[in-house]
Amino acid sequence: MNSLIAGVILILCLSSYFFGRSEARKLVTQNIKLKALPAYYGYYLSLWCGLPALIIFGCWSLFEPTIIKVLILNNFPQIESKDLFYEQTLSFFNGNFSGEITNEIKAASIKYSSINIIAQNSKIVIIAAALIGSLTFAYRKIQKNNKARDDVEIILKILLFTSSLVAILTTVGIIVSLLFESIKFFSTINIFEFIFGTSWSPQRAFVRDASAITPEELLELQDAFGSVPLFAGTAFIALIAMCVAVPIGLFSGIYLAEYASTKARKYSKPIIEILAGIPTVVYGFFAALTVGPFFRTLGESLGLTVSSESALAAGLIMGVMIIPYISSLSDDVINSVPQSLREGSYAIGATKSETIKKVVIPAALPGIIGSILLAVSRAIGETMIVVMAAGLAANLTINPLESTTTITTQIVMILVGDQEFDSPKTQAAFALGLTLFIATLILNYIALRVVKKYREKYD
């Protein structure tokens, strides 16, 4: 049904383009001087035909299910689990219901079918009315020989502007979805317990119904959500990753920018950048199945106990993943240091490495720091490597051979599979997500500012 309506609208759009164009040409034969090319009258009619109808159609399809649900459930105030009841009604209506058929379900499904018919019919009527109304309006305008091009351009400009608003909408969506659940979470769990508590065991919060938590249970839950071990684990793994990525990335960047021949640069730069294009789940697989066991056997031969899900393996592989981010950014930054600075240094007798160490790097330092900050924000937001290679237990440890857990791992672990909404456990994932969002936002903001300032200095 819906695809039929959409198809009809689109076909009307297309035909109204040709209709508008030929109408405009007719005007020309009557020796009227057009104010725009005939094609613009076609576009004008087509836009007026399609846009209002499509907007109404889209909004209607989006809100129809919810409105019908509310309308039906209002008739059955005595039902307790409303969502389940409604789902049963729907599946009964569609003829694939298995289970006990109650009278309420039958009644609701009859109600549903009548509302559905009303909804379908009124949808068709309203869309048809919109189509006819807007088409007549546009047709009259064409007959008056309006400035079709200007009008089309105004409509298009509004369209362009709306699509650029999607970015703002996404940000609002992220903030709303994170805040909404986090506020519910912090209304049951003390925010200071969350930030400063040192024991993380959300599996204790297996509560079916958040409204049914007794005060004793709530008191007991208070210290189940101390996220310090997660923050510490995240920072620790990011630190290991940076210990790998910063030296290798920085030296690669320097080498590629200052020493490598054009040919070596041409081949080695894309190879290093492959590392950034490999999906993180591949790194996770490699870390979990190859690097982890390798460290374990290596540790055993040295007489050390290494967990097979060690922070070291996860951090090391994450570091490898980050190398290209640091190397290509610092390569760019070093390349944009003016040649005159280097030449000045050579002129007073410095070797190439002395020039790099004493002149180029200090000049490029803000840019390099910016690239490192961006890399840190990638490291703390990285998910799959730590989910697959770091552990699940929240240990507060600084031994890289033990397993630790991170913010992202816990979000995935909490939300994987079926989750009941409205339990403190699920809300905790959103609270962690909010923390992550804020942390990366701050890091990115500082990094972008630093890089921008630096660029302005030499451009």
């Binding site: 996404t170 993180t280 591949v282 697989f285 199945l289 998910t383 697959m388």
Partner: protein, 420 residues
Amino acid sequence: MTKEQRLKKRYRAEKRFKMYGLISVSLAVIFVLILVQNIFSKGSSAFSRTMIEVEVNYDSSLLELDSPINQNSLKDADFYDLAVESLLKIYPAKDSKEERQILRLFSPDFEFEIKDFLIKNPNKIDQVVPVKITASDDIDQLNKGNFPRDLPEDRRRVSNYQLNIYDNLIEKEKINKKFNNYLFTKGDSRDPELAGIGGSLMGSFFTIIICLVLSFPIAIMASIYLEEFAPKNKITDFIEININNLAAVPSIVYGLLGLGILLSVMEFPRSTPLVAGITLSLMTLPRIIIPCRASLKAVPPSIREAALSVGASKFQTVFHHVVPLAMPGTLSGTIIGLAQALGETAPLILIGMVAFVVDIPSSPVDPSASLPVQVYLWSEQAERGFVEKTSATIMMLLGFLIVMNFIAVYLRQKFEKKWN
């Protein structure tokens, strides 16, 4: 220290410094090679499948058919007894325990394979015909040399008795390998020898198509607006800051967005490519807008001025001249953005694409997995067979990514005009 000594020291430092750089670059390159080599060596064996040839006696009395023999009655028939009867003949068994071990040499789907053979060749009824049946994962791995045979029996998955049968079958040349078409045509399964990426391939395909349809037009329109029409004011600045920040938000946050808004508020169907596509398109949008704007910016102002000077309107200038010239750059930016979306896992896990789906999805609203999620799911499995399947999936995924990136580079090099 004399002057010469100091100079020598400085030159040594110079050499050392250069060496550090060279070592770093080589380390990065070596790591790429190790990773690729590791995946390929693990995954290449997944493309073949071990088959055991068995003489099957298609005895129609065992099928208990009450209607005349035709395709439909064969489809409904129960082939289990017939299959077991023929399979047990491959080697003498003392007791029911050994019989069970014999059956465990084959994949659990043996009765269907025997049935399918007869449906394809209905004239073979009441004849004894050699049929090739998929071996179980253990035999498959043994045949590929992934299971060491010299371990004590209790640490092996294959018993001594099964090993004897295996050697006997090898001697009679009854065991051979064929190309593993199951890998591409089957959906997920708990048995590694029957598991395939058909379902996740379709899931990824639908997801990427939806992502492309949603993000490409919006990204181009947004970047045209910001680059060509936007007045310099607070709103424009705010949009720009938003786009730059969104491009750096961790992908898992988009998963939370999809879960919190698309699934729980708007009640879209869970685990489907539709939700995955919408979520990923929100994530990809800023990542496409940034290269699109860069390529619009790269079109020199003289083009615009020339068009305007012959009387084109601002819109005509942009849509007839600037956008076509920027197209190679925008397309290659879009393809690279889509390649990133194709490899994305974490947001898909949050919107429930980790469900165990056997059926191959036929539309974007069917539950399904996607390639990277399949990698994650299989990597959690213990069986050795899944390791090679996972590696093979990664090979496919990397193959797609390489092709996409290659197209992007080609578009840019071939069609992009060099100004200056």
